[in-house]
Amino acid sequence: MAQTASTKATLKRNWFTITSLVSKDFKLKYRRSVLGVLWSVLNPLLMMCVLAAVFTNVLKFGDDVQNFPMYLILGNVLFSLMADSTSSAMGSILESAPLIKKVRVSKMIFPLEKVLFTLVNFAISLIAVVIVMLFFRIPPTVNLLAMPILLVFMLLFCAGLGMLLSSLAVFFRDVCHLWGVVITAWTYATPLFYPVGLLPDWMQAAEAFNPMYHYVCYFRDIAMYNTVPGLTENLICLGMAAITFAIGFAVFKATEKKFILYV
């Protein structure tokens, strides 16, 4: 009994620490900018405009897709959630080195906090998605209720990757340099600005192993294609998230005691 009570207290304390850190990051991100939080909405919108212009007028395959800007913004916003959260989680342990060296604090807080903070930004950028839906008169459907399920998958996936990267970055700073390249490659390997049918057959087959492909498809299915992903698709998404999380968690737990000697 006492055990569970103390675990509960620890969890509650850690949750307060995480929310405090999220609110700190939030305040710092928008401090001294005139438009402030609005940027989280404007940014995906402007990005969408640029990409739409390029891919419709220059590369000409934008026309193959119905509601191409919507297609773009959905993929982009979701992929950014992954890219931003993993990148910031990666450096989180190194950044909080002064703290880790001096205060006894659960180290897992730091990568998780970064993922949560990115999720908050993602939530705000959903407003941009709503604006696009209004503009193109895409009616919302009950399928959007599956959104929280997708977010749970994404959270698990990003947290797992974030923990893995953050612990690796402590021992090998090379990871920090490499990850940017990986993200860029991943961006192009995932059908964000092009229809998947454009890919050669073998690559289309390979997409089955790309978690982000599954999550982006999931998102587009519920938000613009008005379909509910089947059980198999849900299980694939969950499986990928769970495995990633488990690996990340295990690596983090195994190495966290050594962090202090390397940061």
């Binding site: 620490t17 710092l28 703290l99 700073r173 090379d174 005691k257 000697l261």
Partner: protein, 655 residues
């Protein structure tokens, strides 16, 4: 760090551990904790470096043991101090206790909530306001939101930052940041409080406030406290128990008073294990030192000290006076013989102006002649003017005009020769001294003899080079004996042979180390070997090798009070041990000690230890009774010369 720092335990630590049995619950139990850092791996920050190190097989080497098998227990209500020099593993120990570090070997168990005040303010973000930071830092320290809200005003009050709450922290002064950090960390009443040097931040007022808060936690809440500090006094004041860790090894454990005492004398000081043992046993010796056994002389500066010494010697008014530069030791030493010949005090001056205290002394001595040693570069003409103004009307200023010490020493000899004829006083001794520049300690030790016998001191130019003029002076028929301070390399045998050809017998005086030389010289001047020398070592003037300037002008005083010099380096245990054994060896000949210099040169314990040596030697020789237990412990901190220097006052009256 010096290499030869001892790390062996002083006293029986296992016994201390076993003796610590009482009913109070154990709050912190450190059991044979070792912490090993892998030095190589700390620097490997990339795969490439890792691969290279792996290839070179350096990966597993270079272990650094920050802590080696340290054990202690802290019980409820204890205030436990951890002492040690820089890099001895104190902070590592605290971090292990705080749970930040995991020990490599051994265990550290904690029983209760901990508030670590280790490097405060670690979680502050300087872009945020103080208000935001209080919540953030509180969260990181593990407080609940409700707790912080409840105690918010308390924190702000303590930190005194009401007006600046909504200002970004980057605009705060470092003192304000420290105050907020301390206020947040101590708002909670923990069961175990860990304090690491935090009290050294902020201004004086705030430090007191912090200490009050810690004392309050100790007294009112029965909090168990662990303190790391360089400040010995603080540990002694706050703690009841203490451990001394040196290079990761436990050196001593026990009551805070005992450990602090030992640490103050031995901590961070170099010296062999034997010397340390000798010093340690003297420190722990129960001998009480009678008040009148030890006294101190210290001016506010070297100039003030010289004045005090001159006052002490009670030179006649209207005589001569020698003014030397306080920055150059060699002319001061050469001046000792001249000082004895003219019965003139040696006063020191700065180059650019005459210190006020010196001017006053000149006015009270009202000399008819002031001999200024050195040219314009040594003592400026303003100094000469000011000295003339300070003296009575008609005072003659005679400057021995030479800016270079070797030549100046020879000119001082010439001057003395002439002055003795003019004044009709007895001139230079038949003994001369030639010295290497580094033999300052030897010359200081010799200075009573120099004064007493009017012995001139000459210097060599550089290794093995002796000026022709200097050689001519020595060999010119004025001397029959030459005392040589320096080895063959400095003053070659060929020169000594040349002197012998001119009828000057020479003798080399060499000690194994400065303290040995010090002893040899004292033996020489008390033995009567030198003609006419009647010096004793009744009173030993203890001078620190760190500040020989205080002894620049002390020759006259030593000669007039039958004193000899004892050079000591309080930081060097070998030197302290030598001083103790020297005093003991003299078996009661030493009856009084006068320490030259303020408390920054000799601490209370430094004085007490040598005092004990004197007292024990006297008791052993049957010259003092042991029933000194009811005497007050030696309280020797005094800059007031006349009130403390009882023994030398007696000798003066005898004259």
């Amino acid at each position: 760090m010096p290499e030869n720092i001892n790390t062996t335990p002083l006293g029986d630590i296992e016994r201390e551990l076993a003796a610590a049995v009482d009913d109070r619950p154990v709050m912190v139990d450190v059991d044979h904790v070792s912490m090993v850092f892998n030095m190589a791996s700390q620097q490997l920050n990339s795969l490439k470096e890792y691969a290279i190190a792996l290839a070179k097989r350096e990966l597993m080497f270079k272990e650094f043991r920050a802590l080696d098998g340290v054990s202690f227990t802290v019980r409820k209500g204890d205030v436990f101090g951890i002492l040690g020099t820089n890099g001895s593993g104190k902070s590592t120990m605290l971090k292990i206790i705080a749970g930040v570090l995991e020990p490599t070997e051994g265990t550290c168990s904690i029983n209760g909530s901990i508030a670590p005040l280790i490097e405060l303010g670690a979680g502050f973000d300087m872009e945020l306001t103080a208000r935001e930071n209080i919540f953030l830092n509180g969260a990181l320290l593990g407080y609940s939101k409700k707790f912080i809200q409840q105690h918010f005003d308390e924190i702000v009050d303590f930190a005194e930052v009401e007006k600046f709450l909504d200002m970004p922290m980057k605009n705060y002064s470092s003192g304000m940041v420290a105050r907020i950090a301390f206020a947040i960390a101590t708002v909670i009443v923990p069961e175990i409080l860990i304090v690491d040097e935090v009290l050294s931040v902020g201004d004086f007022m705030f430090q007191q406030k912090c200490e009050r808060r810690i004392t309050q936690l100790i007294k009112e809440h029965d909090v168990t406290v662990l303190i790391v500090s360089h400040n010995n006094d603080q540990i002694e004041r706050l703690c009841n128990k203490a451990i001394w860790i040196e290079k990761g090894h436990t050196r001593m454990m026990g009551s805070a008073a005992d450990v602090c005492r030992a640490y103050r004398v031995l901590g961070g000081h170099v010296g062999s294990a034997e010397s340390e043992a000798a010093v340690f046993s003297m420190l722990n010796s129960p001998t009480r030192v009678p008040d009148e056994l030890v006294s101190s002389v210290a001016g506010e500066s070297r100039y003030g000290t010289a004045v005090k010494i001159a006052e002490k010697c009670r030179f006649a008014q209207g005589g001569s006076l020698i003014l030397a530069s306080g920055d150059f030791s060699l002319p001061c030493m050469s001046a000792q013989g001249l000082s004895g010949m003219l019965d003139a005090p040696v006063l020191l001056s700065k180059h650019e102006s005459l210190p006020d205290v010196v001017a006053q002394e000149i006015a009270s001595l009202a000399p008819h002649r002031i001999v200024v040693l050195g040219g314009e570069d040594v003592l400026s003409s303003e100094v000469a003017e000011q000295a003339k103004d300070a003296a009575r009307d008609g005072c003659a200023i005679e400057r021995i005009d030479c800016n270079e010490s070797v030549e100046l020493a020879r000119l001082i000899f010439d001057f003395g020769k002439r002055a003795a004829e003019e004044d009709g006083v007895s001139g230079w001794s038949k003994l001369a001294i030639i010295a290497h520049h580094d033999c300052l300690g030897d010359l200081i030790t010799l200075s009573p003899l120099l004064f007493n016998q009017h012995i001139p001191v000459f210097y060599i130019r550089e290794l093995g080079v002796i000026d022709d003029a200097t050689a001519a002076s020595i060999q010119g028929g004025d001397f029959t004996d030459l005392l040589v301070l320096g080895v063959d390399k400095h003053i070659p045998d060929t020169f000594l042979a040349a002197c012998a050809a001119h009828g000057v017998k020479s003798e080399r005086l060499i000690g194994k180390n400065p303290y040995d030389a010090n002893e040899k010289i004292n033996d020489l001047i008390t033995s009567g070997q030198v003609e006419g020398a009647r010096l004793t070592i009744d009173n030993l003037i203890v001078s620190s090798v760190w500040n020989p300037a205080d002894a620049f002008a002390a020759g006259a005083w030593a000669a007039k009070t039958d004193s000899a010099f004892l050079l000591e380096d309080p930081q060097n245990l070998d030197s302290v041990a030598h001083a103790i054994s020297y005093i003991k060896k003299k078996g009661g000949s030493v009856k009084h000690l006068t320490f030259l210099g303020d408390s920054s040169q000799f601490g209370r314990l430094d004085k007490e230890m040598l005092g004990k040596a004197v007292q024990e030697a006297l008791v052993d020789a049957g010259l003092a009774d042991t029933g000194a237990e009811d005497a007050q412990p030696a309280e020797t901190e005094s800059t007031d010369f006349t009130s403390t220097d009882a023994a030398s006052a007696n000798t003066q009256e005898n004259e």
